[in-house]
């Protein structure tokens, strides 16, 4: 039936109500998803490869000579001082759990983030951003810490160029301050984009949480940029494969989960839902060399952070290692789609899922989340 409107006012009468109804019902539908805030659109106009080039320069000049949280506060303020008042209003937000939860494993264009996107920053601003991030992430380890973050942005730039389009790329990563940086009150740094989310929560001059931290990369294979080859999240995959293949057949049977896992269980939006009963194989029952393989995998997450931030966390996870469980689904090689591994301790929770390709079809890529049973969002 060829349908044509006779008049605009009739349209106002009928089509309008139709449109609003469709909006209303889809709002209900989105209640199960994790789409975030609406302060940003996720699009960028700047050249993404310029961003990673600027961020990967080694020169760091800073006037913040203090140490610990005081230095992080100083560097946060230094970054803020480079921003225009409009940019600052976008970046400096109030602390709330709702704001802290606005992260996702989707490109920012498909699930909006809060904060300011790297694509809208000048070189000076990017340099100040870099100064801050190298203070909270570890430096000088290939594909770990700050280098892993850059590698992740490089991979997303690559997705942009091979058909992912403007939803992808380093320009679509966002930084925000939730609460005013201070050595006395509650505040957080939230850096979030497609395959990388890293929060840092501070309270009373101490770091109170660095999770939930999301990692992942597509492609899983190496990507070259600015005369460097990055493979941001390969070491973690290899470490888990080593951990699982190191087990005896009987241990593997105990560790194997009965269900299949094509995604993370505690991904974005799944806060505070740790299983009441741990599944799989208790690490305390393993030989010390096999326990060391578990700890090696955990370290690839914790040691991404600056050593000061990492130290107490790693001590805790090490002390709890005997009561930590590991489990997996799929194969122990962590090489095919559907392979899944979990580390669940009294505090630590890490999941690694090797799932189907989205931009690069028929080639798996990794998603991984590090959570903490008590200190997600700084325990708030």
């Amino acid at each position: 039936m060829k349908r044509k409107n006779l008049s605009i006012f009739l349209l106002l009468l009928f089509s309008f109500s139709h449109i609003f109804e469709s909006c209303k019902s889809t709002e209900v539908e989105t209640s199960t998803t994790t789409s975030g805030g609406s302060t940003s659109t996720g699009s960028t106009t700047s050249n993404s490869s310029t961003i990673t080039t600027t961020l990967s320069t080694t020169a760091t000049t800073t006037t913040c000579n203090s140490t610990g949280v005081a230095q992080i506060v100083c560097l946060a303020e230094a970054f803020k001082s480079t921003l225009s008042s409009t940019q600052l209003a976008t970046t400096q937000l109030t602390y709330s759990k709702t704001n802290a939860q606005k992260w996702s494993n989707l490109p920012a264009g498909m699930s909006a983030r809060i904060g300011i996107n790297l694509g809208s920053l000048s070189d000076t601003q990017l340099a100040a951003f870099r100064n801050l991030m190298v203070a909270v992430l570890s430096l000088n380890t290939t594909n770990e810490g700050y280098d892993e973050m850059i590698g992740n942005l490089v991979a997303d730039d690559y997705l942009n160029t091979i058909g992912g389009g403007s939803d992808y790329g380093a320009g679509n990563y966002y930084i925000s301050f939730l609460g005013t940086p201070s050595t006395s009150s509650l505040w957080a740094i939230l850096f979030t984009g497609h395959h990388y989310t890293q929060p840092f929560t501070f309270n009373g001059g101490a770091n109170t949480g660095v999770t939930p931290a999301f990692r992942g990369t597509e492609p899983q294979a190496a990507v070259t940029a600015a005369n460097r080859t990055y493979q941001a999240f390969e070491q973690e995959r290899v470490a888990f494969a080593a951990m699982l293949t190191g087990l005896s057949t009987a241990e593997q049977t105990t560790a194997k989960l009965s269900g299949s896992y094509n995604d993370l269980v505690l991904g974005p939006g799944q806060d505070g839902k740790f299983p009441a009963t741990k599944s799989g194989l208790q690490v305390g029952n393993l030989s010390s060399d096999k326990q060391a393989l578990v700890l090696s995998a955990i370290k690839l997450y914790v040691n991404d952070l600056d050593a000061n931030l990492a130290a107490s966390i790693l001590t805790k996870y090490t002390s709890e290692l005997a009561n930590t469980y590991i489990s997996y689904s799929g194969t122990t090689a962590m090489a095919s789609q559907g392979d899944y591994v979990r580390v669940d301790g009294p505090s630590v929770w890490i999941e690694f899922s090797y799932q189907g390709g989205v931009i690069i079809k028929n080639t798996p890529h990794s998603h991984s989340v590090w959570r903490d049973h008590t200190s997600d969002y700084g325990g708030n």
Binding site: F14, S22, S25, A276
Partner: protein
């Protein structure tokens, strides 16, 4: 959504931009509702049964079921139809509050490609499932034990939505309403059934929804209205010889107008009834072509009286054709007898309301104008434009492709209110001028 895009294409200027952006926002929220390829269960609620459509991503089904349904999806249904049906039946078990399970039967299966912005293109299985509660049990209250794919794939999610619920005035043409999600209870590592309690509706809600739908169909159906308007164009005139003569008086005009409109209504009511009850089924293309031809015929009649005095019969005859087009909308709802009868009545009333409304807006000016010398120009211009539009539609509906003329008609239709305003102004001005020179024939 299909209708929505059609209406948008007809809007002008800023209104269009506004509507399109609103529409885009709505689309975006739909997209984020499916982060991974989830399963979707769409419920069509009837008085004593639920027809469900399942949409299951093959990549997830393969993980759960083992068979290489995604890796080799060619001729999937031919190869594995019976096993698929058995598998689905084993994992779909609605249960009434009294503990009795419903009867579930799996109908048509199709494997096809689907797409969303997050996952891109992926393959999907669509299954038609009928669920019937035991005798005496309420179709709106049940515990939905449904764990297709999810029994094995712990990360799978199943969105359950109501797509059509006539008694609550919800028709398949609007967006489905989500009733819940079935997924793993992570904390307790178990899969809980979804308690479903759909608010009861009433025949009144279903009836009024159909009235609204009927009004919408006419408001958006330029071709139906054009046919009627062009047929009414010469109605106030007397036939003198082989030509249209002078104004025949208000009583004469109204009698003829009423007769034509009533005849059209009788005609399309008959085929609407016959078509929606399934007694008559014609493919839509010839029906659509005939509707365009009906406009052409009535345009010719407005130029020269082809069937003077027999307008009502012609209106009734073409009404039969227009009714067939209306009927296809109703037949698609697949309603039971009672609701169907009410729907036919409501839909028809909606059509009548809108027709009468439009006619009331136009007729006073036609009567005023028909008393003036200039009506000849108005009548011939109207007939000519309608004929051009009709021929464009005939070509479009034969070839199946839009042409620049039909696009132009769409554009023109959006200016109809202005056209009506201009028509009224001209009518009033000419009447005033002729009154001054006392040239007007008596009313």
């Amino acid at each position: 959504m299909k209708q929505l895009t059609f209406s948008i294409s007809r809007l002008d200027g800023r209104l269009m931009v506004f509507l399109i952006s609103l529409w885009a926002i709505c689309r975006a929220t739909i997209a984020t509702a499916h982060p991974m390829p989830n399963s979707v269960v769409l419920l069509n609620v009837h008085a004593n049964r639920i027809d469900a459509e399942l949409q299951i991503p093959l990549v997830e089904l393969q993980s759960a079921w083992g068979h290489a349904v995604n890796d080799s999806s060619a001729r999937l249904v031919e190869r594995l139809g019976p096993q698929l049906r058995a598998y689905l039946k084993a994992h779909i078990r609605p249960q009434s509050p009294d503990g009795r399970f419903w009867t579930v039967s799996v109908g048509e299966l199709t494997a096809h490609e689907s797409q969303n912005p997050i996952n891109g293109v992926y393959r999907e299985l669509t299954a038609q499932v009928q669920m019937i509660p035991p005798a005496g049990d309420d179709v709106r209250q049940f515990t939905f034990f449904y764990d297709v794919v999810l029994h094995q794939v712990m990360t799978h999610k199943i969105l359950v939505l109501v797509r059509q619920d006539w008694e609550r005035g919800q028709l398949a043409e609007s967006e489905p309403v989500q009733v819940g999600t079935i997924s793993l209870d992570i904390v307790n590592n178990r899969i809980l059934p979804l308690p479903i309690s759909i608010e009861s509706g009433s025949h009144w809600a279903g009836f009024t929804a159909m009235v609204k739908l009927g009004m919408q169909h006419i408001a958006e159906g330029t071709d139906h209205l054009l046919f009627l308007l062009v047929l009414l164009l010469p109605a106030p005139l007397l036939v003198i010889g082989q030509r249209w003569g002078r104004f025949g008086g208000v009583r004469y005009s109204l009698k003829r107008l009423l007769l034509i409109v009533t005849a059209f209504t009788v005609g399309h009511s008959i085929t609407l009834l016959a078509g929606s009850l399934g007694w008559v089924r014609l493919p839509s293309q010839p029906v659509e072509i005939l509707i365009a031809v009906s406009i052409l015929v009535s345009a010719a009649h407005a130029v020269r009286p082809l069937f003077p005095g027999r307008e009502a019969w012609i209106a009734a005859g073409f009404g039969l054709i227009h009714g067939l087009a209306f009927a296809s909308t109703l037949a698609n709802l697949q309603l039971d007898a009672g609701p169907m009868a009410l729907s036919i009545l409501g839909f028809n009333l909606g059509i009548e309301f809108m027709q009468v409304f439009i006619i009331l807006l136009v007729i006073p000016w036609l009567i005023l104008l028909s008393r003036t010398q200039s009506y000849r120009v108005v009548r011939l211009t109207g007939a000519f434009l309608a004929a051009v539009a009709a021929m464009a539609w005939v070509i479009e509906r034969i070839t199946g492709q839009t042409n620049s003329l039909t696009r132009g008609v769409e554009q023109m239709a959006s200016y109809a209110p202005y056209g009506l305003g201009i028509l009224a102004l001209i009518a009033l001005w000419l009447t005033w001028r002729m009154k001054r020179t006392s040239q007007l024939p008596v009313l």
